[in-house]
Symmetry: C2
Subunit: 334 residues, 2 copies
């Protein structure tokens, strides 16, 4: 019977672009309805999902490989901040009529690079057509020893506040993507501007820090909506407040140069979002062990302040001890 | 600091509409970045995702509660066909600017009904705004004893072909939704027309059949793209063919009445999709045990044909032994 035995366009698309990412035997080469994976003994599974929409979270002209990698990485960042080791992910992809093979090839090539970099595999997915913008949902699955997930709630007065890497690069990078002339106004070197733009486009999930977080943090989350806003969330669910010394917040060379040119960028850096660094609190007596464990994991961590009692919003103090006020304390795409 | 300590609009939306569904303690009331759930000992996890787009997979005016339930149910149907017990799900929801609280309330109310009916909970999710149509991705997680997942591949010549429930109702129901005058042309009672429309809108995942499938089926999948097309897929990956007796394909009263009025609807019924019944093959010597196990699970199953050797497309024979030909053998939204 004509056609009855042929693969559908969707099957062909999956076989061509996504089967190469399905390296786990339980993914069955994406030729089945579901995937299976052994439940790790003595573990808790950690589950998360994040979605991105063209025109909202990325620009339709952005390199598809970068879009794919960021969509995966923001999920890996969530797992890392909770102390989990990533196992793999599923991909729900709504593509537009004009989404061609070139886009899909670049998208899947990007995913493949990160599957290898982070040791994860594609377990499955669904591909549908949409009359709207390309929409990408990644569902990531991780594991950790039972009952050890780091939570947002748990910070206690006296705990030290730590962040990984450097803060604010993503927010500055986004502004540079949107307005190229800013690089000159901020007196950035070509390398510094490139670095900031890349930090927006390709965040670095701190997967290697997961174990240190799990072992030492009293509370933890990743920074996606800005240090100030996300710290406020962590403090609120923990029932505490915090005092941050802005001078101690770790900055990249580019961010430092930008602030030197325009001091108002301090607010962008502290509230802008797209950091995908880990923000965690660590009991004072474990701070040394945490720093040592982070060092062993080759992830920079910096103590930026202290958890204090009370239910006020966290205070960000400048070098003179003056509390900063923000016009827009937390970034939200919503 | 004004605003810094307030919940975001997204947080408020999640707390209001989705927190009531997060009844698993590891979901932490959706107030954390991820959820955790104990990995069931000695089990394999089964993972699946399906996405639906307004205007493509459902109509923007469809009742939101029904849309939600169907989005969940098609995933539960996948798990059931693989022999898995559902554990829970995550929801990635892209809502439009005009998606109001009334829509969200009805959507989450619908989900809640099905969470209770099928004993699953919402583990987490992500809600984003889209300038395009509402897009819903559900990621479902199930479990089954290690190495027991029923696969598409595995059918062998001589195995019996079974389907659950009745076939074709969803496809007829979709046509009735689109063209109300068809009910009269097909000489359907009001009850029969309602039944068919409901079968499209609210498929019945055969969750209770999972154990029987796992214990007895040599191959299994759920029918989402039509019996003919999905059987062709199962046969292709199994390296076999099949012969189906069309007269044995189980039909609802409504489908039977529709065929009596218009015999050409046989093709719609066999190829139309949206069945969400289980299609499986069972070794001949286990057919009796499978039927008995299905009876214990209170799910109707019907033997409709036999697996045969060869790589030809499955043959559907009418009551005179004549092979049917289909103009459009498999439904695809893609």
């Amino acid at each position: 019977v004509a056609g009855q035995d042929r693969e559908s366009p969707e099957d062909r698309l999956i076989a061509r672009f996504f089967k190469p990412l399905a390296t786990h035997p339980g993914a069955l080469g994406l030729a089945d309805d579901t995937a299976f994976v052994s439940a790790p003994e003595g573990s808790d599974l950690v589950l998360t999902t994040d979605a991105v929409v063209a025109g909202v979270h990325f620009l339709p002209g952005d390199p598809p490989g970068m879009v794919a990698r960021k969509a995966l990485r923001v999920n890996l960042s969530d797992l890392a901040a909770k102390g989990a080791r990533p196992l793999g992910f599923l991909l729900s992809l709504a593509i537009a009529a004009e989404t061609g093979e070139k886009w899909l090839q670049a998208f899947s090539d990007g995913l493949k690079v990160d599957c290898e970099e982070f040791g994860v595999a594609l377990f499955g997915g669904d591909t549908v057509r949409t009359p709207g913008p390309v929409t990408i949902s990644v569902f990531a699955l991780g594991a950790l020893p039972r009952r050890t997930m780091a939570r947002r709630a748990g910070a206690k007065a006296g705990d030290r506040v730590f962040v990984s890497g450097s803060v604010g690069d993503g927010a500055l990078g986004l502004r540079l993507h949107r307005e190229r002339a800013l690089a000159a106004r901020w007196k950035l070197s070509e390398a510094a501007a490139d670095h900031l733009r890349m930090r927006y486009q390709l965040p670095q999930p701190r997967v290697r820090l997961a174990e240190a977080v799990r072992d030492h943090a009293s509370a933890s989350m990743d920074i996606s909506d800005g240090l100030a806003g996300d710290l406020a969330k962590l403090c609120r669910v923990s029932g505490v407040s915090a005092t941050i010394e802005v001078a101690r917040v770790p900055l990249s060379d580019g961010a430092r140069a930008a602030i030197a040119a325009d001091n108002a960028l301090t607010e962008t850096i502290l509230t802008g979002g797209d950091d995908y660094e880990i923000l965690c609190t660590v009991p004072a007596e474990r701070a040394g062990s945490f720093v040592a464990a982070a060092g062993n994991a080759r992830v920079a961590v910096t103590e930026i302040g202290e958890v204090v009692s009370g239910d006020a919003a966290p205070v960000f103090r400048d070098a003179n001890g003056k509390a900063l006020t923000f016009t827009r304390p937390s970034f939200s795409h919503f």
